[in-house]
């Protein structure tokens, strides 16, 4: 956990012009109770491997960097970058004071339903070789999964033959 902490300390989420800091948990622990509990249970795996020394040397860390990043990207893509959006919301952004290319791409992101992590990989930690291919792979894998959107009430009603409210 020291390697990724060190990398984060070089980035804008640690040190920036406005003096607002996002700490590890701001990005990695959800606010909502059910998601938070799930994250805490999943974190047992991290503690286990930390104790086991799975990533205890720089070489071991680099070997697993892409795999670990991929797991976090999957989580973020699946949750529509929920933890990012606790601070960064499109509704609160003033595109006119953003850099031109940032404003254009954020507009495109709204129009096409993209999520933060689609572009902003590696903002707090270093990226492994082949990261873009791996990210595209994550997106494909998630798209292939059955849709887990809101419950299709109309579909259920029509299946049961009860059209009336």
């Amino acid at each position: 956990m020291e390697t990724n902490l060190g990398e984060y300390r070089e980035t804008v989420h640690y040190n920036n012009h406005s003096g607002v800091r996002a700490i590890c948990s701001d990005c990695h622990v959800p606010h909502e109770w059910q998601y938070k509990m799930k994250a805490k249970i999943m974190a047992v795996k991290d503690v286990y491997h930390e104790v086991l020394g799975t990533i205890s040397t720089p070489e071991k860390y680099e070997e697993r960097r892409l795999e670990m990043a991929s797991a976090v990207w999957t989580k973020m893509k699946a949750s529509d970058s929920r933890e990012c959006r606790n601070c960064h919301a499109f509704e609160y952004m003033d595109f006119t004071i953003q850099e031109t290319r940032a404003a254009q791409n954020h507009q495109k992101a709204i129009d096409t339903g993209m999520t933060c992590i689609d572009c902003h990989q590696g903002i707090a930690h270093d990226l492994a070789p082949g990261y873009l291919e791996e990210y595209n792979h994550v997106v494909k894998k998630l798209a292939a999964q059955p849709h887990q959107g809101p419950i299709d009430v109309a579909g259920i009603k029509s299946f049961l033959g009860t059209q009336s409210e």
Binding site: T11, V12, E99, G122, I123, D126, L127, A128, P129, L132
Partner: protein
């Protein structure tokens, strides 16, 4: 007796060596990298902001300068983040200029699918544009304007 002499000699040697160090430090005029005394406040260098909009080239083969901030872009042995938008595989989607095709030629002139190792470190030639004084002097003149 022999041991006693040895102890005295070594103590003397140590004292003389230490005295020598002190003397060298006082006469050598050691300057710190900080260029200021420990009790002085260092002046920080001016910060020059990124210029937006594309600057025209000053001569035919000038590497174009970067019209956006490249703060915290990772360019190292593992990853080159510029290529996320500027590689030929992604430039179309991202609406970014593609690298010059010369950047896909290796030293022998072989066409490669990925950027040549010799061209990996973008900011050796392409720098973000800012209206800042030159860091070093330069007498370069283009052959034609």
């Amino acid at each position: 007796m022999k041991l006693h002499v040895l102890a005295v000699a070594s103590a003397l040697a140590a004292t003389l060596t230490f005295a020598g160090f002190v003397g060298a430090q006082q006469s050598g005029g050691v300057t710190s990298l900080r260029n200021a005394g420990i009790d002085e406040t260092n002046a920080i260098e001016d910060v020059y902001r990124q210029d937006e909009g594309r600057e025209p080239r000053n001569y035919r083969q000038q590497p174009p300068i970067v019209p956006h901030s490249i703060e915290q872009y990772q360019i190292d042995l593992r990853t080159n983040q510029c290529l996320t938008c500027h590689d030929w595989t992604t430039a179309g989607d991202r609406g970014a200029p593609t690298l010059s095709m010369t950047h896909y030629l290796d030293r022998q002139g072989t066409q490669l699918d990925t950027v040549a190792g010799t061209r990996w470190f973008c900011n050796q030639c392409h720098v973000p544009q800012a209206d800042a004084p030159a860091l070093v002097g330069n007498t370069f003149k283009p052959s034609s304007n």
